[in-house]
């Protein structure tokens, strides 16, 4: 299991350029910075259509594939070719959005996981197609108002729940699956450091709040990410050797109401709807706690 790494122990060297064209408060760019710092000089990065090309200004070889659906396949090609070229020291890493992971890229993700390809797939999860203007994805949470699930007389935002992607990936029985959050960098770094030397398919889904799409003040990205973890909306856990382990257990789950109402996309929620979400979060958290330390498979 991973251990949090104190920030003070990190090398000062950055592999990401300070300049990029991300929106203010972009948590995706925080993900990229941390990944670059930890995997940096041993990395070849795969990029597909997402906000990544805007913020992923990492000074290591990158292959920008215009093939939105192709992350799993393209990383497979790299991993296998590097093996043939006797360069298995190179880490194949993808920093891929939630659409490219759980929607259009899902077939390739599942297939690469099933083949246990040697890659580290980091999904920065901003819960919608943010680079195209905030359209609903399967990673969007219920009731979120997006540009394709607007709130109106006949609509309360997204009608369906968020796809439980990390668990789906873990059920492929891959060497390592984890969730992380930009508000818990020490936990995230620990997980990256743990995943880095493992051979085979590794997957980390990182909660990355998007001020532009979620409609909140850019200065609060980390705070909202933190509140999502504290409230149980985004639990931190990892699955290794088929065993699930919760990484962080808040003493008491923070009520979801303030977390939701702090974001423009949920501001329309009625008390009943907030209660429904709260009930769902409690149930999910209980189930997770039941599985804590137990085999998932």
């Amino acid at each position: 299991m991973s251990k949090p790494v104190p920030l003070s122990r990190l090398d000062a060297k950055e592999f990401i350029s300070p300049a990029n064209s991300a929106c203010q408060g972009c948590a995706g760019s925080m993900v990229a910075r941390i990944v670059a710092k930890i995997i940096g000089k041993e990395m070849v990065r795969q990029e597909v259509a997402c906000c990544g090309p805007a913020f992923g200004n990492i000074q290591q070889p990158v292959f920008y594939g215009e093939i939105f659906e192709g992350a799993g396949a393209m990383m497979t090609g790299f991993a296998r070719a590097f093996k043939r070229a006797d360069r298995e020291d190179i880490r194949v890493v993808g920093i891929i959005g939630d659409g490219g992971t759980s929607d259009i890229g899902f077939q390739g993700l599942s297939a690469a996981a099933e083949r246990n390809e040697d890659m580290l797939w980091i999904c920065y999860d901003n819960e919608a197609y943010m680079n195209t203007g905030g359209q609903r994805s399967s990673a969007t949470s219920k009731y979120a108002s997006t540009t394709t699930t607007p709130v109106g007389e006949l609509s309360r935002g997204k009608a369906e729940k968020k796809k439980p992607l990390p668990l789906i990936v873990a059920l492929h029985d891959v060497p390592y699956t984890a969730t992380a959050s930009v508000a818990f960098p020490e936990d995230f770094i620990g997980k990256l450091a743990y995943a880095k030397p493992i051979r085979g398919f590794r997957f980390i889904q990182v909660s990355a709040p998007c001020p532009t799409g979620w409609r909140f003040d850019p200065r609060y990205s980390a705070r909202i990410a933190k509140d999502m973890v504290e409230s149980g909306l985004w639990p931190l856990y990892e699955v290794y050797d088929g065993t699930l382990k919760i990484s962080y257990k808040p003493k008491e789950l923070k009520p979801v109401k303030d977390v939701l109402h702090g974001q423009g996309r949920f501001r329309h929620l009625t008390d009943d709807e907030v209660d429904e979400v709260q009930g769902y979060v409690f149930r999910q958290w209980e189930r997770l706690v039941e599985k804590d330390g137990a085999p998932l498979l």
Partner: protein, 395 residues
């Protein structure tokens, strides 16, 4: 050196091409009638006869996408048919603009049903790939090897499809000479990594990617460069064909077109793939009857041999073009319109007729081809013929 022959189906000949080219990455997915190519390759990898990463992907799109990244570093190969090729359409564009010398075999399968026609590759006409057609299994093996040399030539650097008809070639056995491995090694040489993807090459790599993505060249630059490369390929294909002849004793016309019994003719039939090989029998019989008609087989569809057709126009009064494809909404098949386009700049043009034939595996017989040739000869004599574009059989 003793020559090595084996009776094999077309798909095995294709697998031999990949093996002899010492391909290091194979992405595979089953689809009839291509399937046995990847089966033969999996056998070769399982027995150690071939030393490559063999990956069964979850679909053809992923076959193409994985071969794209693999070919940045090692010689790569994939194969498909009909709907599988259509499913690959999106990444095909990327392979060519990224200028990766990936080689792919396409066993023609119609877009409807499993029998062959050229609708699969014709639907990829403008993806920037070179496309070389084959008439028999030996030609598949030889063209496969030549494809790597053409694609990897620094003047070209474009992905290349070599293709042949499903069933008629894929599952039909005939004797094929297997080239000597050492000679193939000499002929192709080692793969030159086209991309600096290793971490220690970061500066070079970022510069390259930066150039690909910056606007320093203007938005149309990619296609302009591809076009230049494809035009260079006309020279390179001829050179490679000649070099292949010197090394292995076989060649295919001049690499771009094969002119069969075209001396002293009044008319020519023009065809591609197995239709052209059947047409040779028709031409033999007609010439025996004293009819002055020859055959032009299109070997290279992309780049299209405009100059060759302009030259051929100098010795023939009529061309009867057979198209195993249709471009709905345009009068005439695709090679017919390409040829007419090539001839437009000439002061004196031969009469051109078109025959849609062989769609979805519709049989194209020697007698049917004789009748097409007779019609073309009639036009060559200056007689009025109609219609200009005709559907032959199975309508």
């Amino acid at each position: 050196m003793a020559k090595k022959f084996e009776v094999m189906v077309g798909n095995k000949a294709v697998a031999y091409a990949a093996k002899l080219a010492r391909v290091k990455f194979v992405s595979a997915y089953p689809i009839t009638p291509q399937t046995t190519i990847v089966q033969y390759l999996s056998d070769m990898c399982a027995t150690g006869e071939m030393d490559a990463e063999y990956v069964t992907m979850e679909g053809e799109l992923s076959c193409q996408a994985s071969a794209i990244t693999a070919s940045t570093t090692v010689r790569s190969f994939t194969a498909t048919s009909g709907p599988g090729l259509l499913y690959m359409h999106h990444p095909l564009h990327m392979t060519s603009w990224a200028r990766l010398p990936l080689v792919m075999a396409v066993v023609h399968r119609s877009t409807k049903g499993m029998q062959p026609d050229q609708m699969d590759t014709m639907s990829q006409r403008d993806t920037g790939w070179l496309m070389l057609e084959c008439q028999n299994s030996q030609e598949l093996l030889d063209t496969g090897i030549m494809s790597f040399k053409i694609a990897e030539d620094p003047r070209v650097m474009l992905p290349t499809i070599f293709m042949g008809d499903g069933y008629i070639l894929s599952y039909t056995s005939e004797p094929v000479e297997i080239p000597d491995q050492e000679l193939v090694d000499e002929f192709l040489g080692p793969y030159r990594r086209p991309y600096p993807m290793f971490p220690e090459e970061a500066a070079e790599s970022l510069k390259l990617m930066g150039a690909m993505w910056s606007n320093q060249h203007g938005p149309q630059h990619i296609w302009k460069m591809q076009q230049e490369a494809a035009m260079n390929a006309k020279i390179v294909i001829k050179e490679v064909n000649t070099e292949f002849q010197k090394k292995f004793g076989r060649s295919y016309g001049n690499g771009l077109v094969e002119e069969y019994k075209c001396e002293n003719v009044d008319a020519v039939l023009v065809g591609m793939g197995t239709i052209a090989s059947t047409a040779k029998t028709a031409i033999d019989r007609l010439q025996k009857e004293g009819k002055k008609v020859g055959l032009v087989a299109i070997k290279s569809f992309k780049p299209f041999p405009d100059e060759e057709f302009q030259r051929i126009a100098g010795y023939t009064k009529a061309m009867g073009v057979i198209d195993r494809n249709v471009s709905t909404g345009t009068k005439g098949g695709i090679t017919f319109t390409e040829i007419r386009h090539a001839l437009y700049d000439l002061d004196e043009r031969p009469v051109t007729l078109n025959f849609h034939a062989g769609m979805r595996g519709q049989e194209v017989t020697v007698d049917g081809l004789k009748r097409m040739a007779e019609k073309t000869l009639k036009a060559a004599r200056g007689e009025k013929v109609a219609p200009i574009v005709e559907w032959v059989g199975g309508n």
